[in-house]
Structures are given as C-alpha cells and as structure tokens.
Symmetry: C3
Subunit: 218 residues, 3 copies
C-alpha cells in the first residue's frame, strides 16, 4: 500500500470517521493553515519546546538539520501564544530540504512570506515575538502532545483547511481501508441525492450510520 | 413589502442599528462565513442538537428532508467545538434542494469543499470530528438559542462577513422601515463628508445620534 | 533618518527582534488586518473609549476631525467584543483625510466594505452592534493600552499579517539601527542556507543568537 498517496487522496472527513470507528482520537483542535498550500501529508518528525526562566540564554533551535525529506515537522510548543517558533528562515531551510510542511501547537510569524510560499505551515496562533530566550528545544523524536493528541515520531499527519489529523503509524493501513469504505459509501449517497432520493433513505440504503465502539471514552 | 429583497439591499450595520433603536438584541457573536458566498438572507428553519452519553448510538440527523426552499437552516449545537454537524453531504443536499444557507452555533467540516461551493455556510468553529454518536437531533422548528440570541422558526436571518443578525418575524417590517431611514441618513453624511464637511457637523446636521430606548438592558 | 520609510522597508520580525534586544515590549497580541491592504506604518493618534451605564445617551465619537494625515488611529476599547467603534462612515472619512490606518483593541463592522477599500483596518474582533450608547469617547492623545502594550501619542505603529508592533518614539532610531543589523545578518544566513550550509553552522557564523538583556521581565 502506498500509504502517503492513499492518505492524500482520501478526504480528511473520511479519515477522521475511520479513526472514529477504530476508537482512535486523532483530531487536533484549532490548528489551521497559514500558507497558500493548505494540504499536508507526511510522517511526523516531533519537536518539543519548553519554557526557560526570564533572562536565561536560549538559542534558536537548529533541529531542522536532522529532518529528512518527506517528513512533517510537528512542534509541541504547549500552545504558547506569546512567542513564535517558526518564521522565514526556517521556511526557507524547509523548502531547500524539500520537507513536507510544519504543524505548530503554538505561534508562527512572517505570515506574509509564509502565505506567499508553497510550503505548508499550520499553526494555532500568529505572533511576531521571537521564541529566543523564551523557550528552548527540549527534545526531538520522542512522543509529544499537540492540541491534546499524542504524536509519536513516524505517525502520519494529514491536514487541510478543516484541520490536522494524527494517524498512528500502527493503525494507518486499517484507517485507510476503513476510510475507503466510508468514501465509497458517501459517493453512493451523493449520487442518490443528486437523483432526488431523500437523505434519510439514502443513508439507510447505504448504511451511513454505525454503532459506536464499545470502549468509547472520547 | 418584499421582505427578503429589502433585507438583502440593506446593510447589516443599518439593520443592526434599527434593531438597536427598537431595543431588540439580534447580533450573534463569533459566527462567520466559511464559504465563497458570504451573504445570507432567509427565514430560519431551527434545529437543536443535544449531547449523548459516550458509547450511545446516535445516528446522523436527516431533518434536512423537511427544510423548504428559501429557508436558512439555523443549528443550535450549543457552541460545541469538538464535533461537527455540517459537511459535504449536507452541503450537496442543501444545494440540490435550493436552500438559502446554513448557520451553526458549533463546528462544520469539509471546509475545502464548502469554500469552493456557492452555498453559504456560517459557523463558529471548524473541526473534522463527526457529531455521530456525540450529539443527536433534539428537535426542529422550536425556539433555539444561537450565540445567546433567541431564534424562533420563521425569524429572518441576515448575515455577511460582519456576522449574523436575527430579526424576529413580528418586528421585521418595523426594522426594515427604521433601517431605511438610517441608511438614507448615512448616505447624506457620506455625501457631506466627501465634500469636506467635518464628521461632527455632518452627524449633527443629519441627526446621526439617538437617545437609547428606555428599557435598555443590553 | 526617514523613519517612516525605514520602518516600512524593515520586516516586522526584524523590528520585533530589535525591540527584544532593547528590552522593550511592543507586540500586540490578537490584532489582525481586516482590509485588502495589510501593511500599516505611521504615528499613533491615541483614542480611548470607556463603558457607559445602560440607557445612558452617548453619541458617536467625532475625534477623527482632529486626526492629521500620516497618523494611525489607535483605539483602546479595552478589548470589548460586544460593540463596534469603527465602520463604513469612519473608513470613508479616514480615506478622505488621507489617514494611514486604524488599529482597534476591540471590534469593527462593515467588513465587506472595509475589505474592499485600500484603507488598512486592524482589529481584534468583528461585530456589527454599534458602540453608540454602549461606550463613549473618554479622551484622545493621552497614553492608552492596546493588548497589554502602552501606546503614547506619537509612538510608531508598524503592522502586517503577523500583527501590530508599537515602537516608542524615543527608541525608534535605535530600533531601526538594530533591526537593520538583524536583517543584514538574516540575509547572510538565507544566502548560506541556499548554498546548502546547515542552519546551525550558518547561525553560528553570522551570530544569530544573542544573550537576553539583564533586566528581562517579559
């Protein structure tokens, strides 16, 4: 299975519904595209920042030198809105390195540059104040949390204007298989609707609804 | 009086000021267009969702089969940001049925599809996780509350990039009459301003200000 | 030094970093452009609104007659989201008077008109309900607070899609000098990166990092 290409073709909604049926929580609230290119698909390279005491020297993070082509940089800046961890220089490096995109639980800056580039950047906030001497790199490539969702290195990230979805690496094939069924069903419903079939009937005919998983605790 | 056509011609600001002078609260905070078409005018078809206990089966709502052309679907999902009650299928059904648009005190998904369609969708949030098994249809066509504003079935909804206004059906003609006076006055002020008249003088000449209604409790 | 032209040429990020190195807090959180023209540079004309008791008569403010060409109107409406202090009439007067733009710690309305005009308007919220009889002009041309940042009359305002920066008049030349150094350095880093130099090495070579100021309390 060509996982990345399948993830790109499937809609975010179908993938989200597939995760739902598998009882997996993957939707990251409040993180949206800031760039012209609003679609992102790739494997997570995880980055964690932590706060430093005021007045501490904390240099800008250079982890990007370790990120490989095809990877999405996923930054857990603990939802901080008061300093940025992404801007023009990192966007330029990322494009030079042919990275897939960046997802930030926090803020980015240089929006006018980011907005014009083809490099996808997703963030929760926009703010211009530097992260230098405010936060420091805590670690890379260990589990992080983004908008309440756990992200492991190598998990799949799929995002667009409806938000960011994390698909755990171990479940990605099952998620894709389920999402394809869901999309196929929805296409049948859409076809029926365009022929004038009432939605209720179309949904029953094509089994739109499903029982919730047993151990639902979402 | 051709109410819909008058409501379309008048500005949201003039209608809001007219409601203000009539001591009616109609402005819904934080609900904005997610679609290419950012203007909405029609009569409310009200829909209320309520929460279900985790693990409960709650099928997708099919109320849309009952909505008539010219109606705006107004959904009270109690401002929930964690699950969607609108997406691609409903947008397609709504377009097929020639509905006017949808207003959601909650979230919608499939934004890239919604954004490209001509069907106006207004929401407070964007999130991709389904409402299935999270919320269920409580009722339709009874009074609901949207961003703190009461909406009765058949009330008029007028919205654009500045937000959503609810105009109660019983007051719509008085609101339109007052809004027309306000717009006529503002046009005179704008003409005077373009001739170099100071704003203060223009506002006095054309009676821009008004005493607040007696029982103001907004 | 032609201050306005220098401020326009420099990036918001470089100016913000320069303020940072001078230990000055200038970034206003959550205030973004609502207009087609998303860049603003000028000297602040400060305006303060305060709340009135419900039912009190409080006419629309006419301070705009006192604002001079080249000035940016900066409005401290204490972050109120429930009433607007800016709309179409003021936008028209401002354009007639060739003002530079408006920055609001609060809401504006008539967004569809503002969005089409070339006049830059930045605000925290969008809402259509009038400020008349809700807030009144408290004073003009005295110190105000915008998103927690003090603004004195005559301070420099520089904004774009990444937000609004306040640069105190007494520090503007020092800020520009420092920002130019920062931009020159960043250009060298960008050139090195495009030649394949790792970011870490480029940042060390061109001294990207700096020790925080001693009395840091941000």
């Amino acid at each position: 299975m060509d996982i990345l290409s399948e993830l790109k073709k499937l809609s975010l909604a179908a993938l989200s519904d597939a995760l739902d049926q598998l009882n997996i929580d993957g939707g990251c609230k409040g993180i949206f595209p800031r760039s012209k290119n609003k679609v992102i698909v790739g494997k997570a390279f995880t980055v964690k920042f932590s706060k430093v005491s005021p007045g501490t020297f904390a240099k800008a993070a250079d982890y990007i030198d370790k990120v490989k082509p095809g990877e999405v940089i996923v930054i857990d800046n603990e939802g901080r809105d008061y300093c940025t961890v992404w801007g023009e220089i990192l966007t330029q490096v990322a494009m030079y390195k042919k990275l897939v995109g960046t997802v930030i639980d926090g803020a980015c800056r240089d929006i006018e540059t980011v907005a014009k580039s083809n490099y996808p950047v997703f963030s929760k906030y926009v703010f211009m104040k530097t992260g230098k001497n405010r936060v420091k790199l805590a670690f890379v490539q260990k589990p992080i949390v983004v908008s309440g969702i756990r992200v492991n290195p190598g998990d799949y990230i799929r995002g667009d204007e409806s938000g960011i979805l994390v698909i755990s690496a171990g479940k990605v094939e099952a998620t894709i298989t389920k999402a394809k069924e869901i999309e196929a069903n929805e296409r049948k419903i859409l076809t029926a609707i365009k022929q004038g079939v009432p939605l209720k009937k179309a949904r029953i005919t094509f089994s739109y609804n499903f029982k919730p998983p047993k151990n639902e605790n979402r």
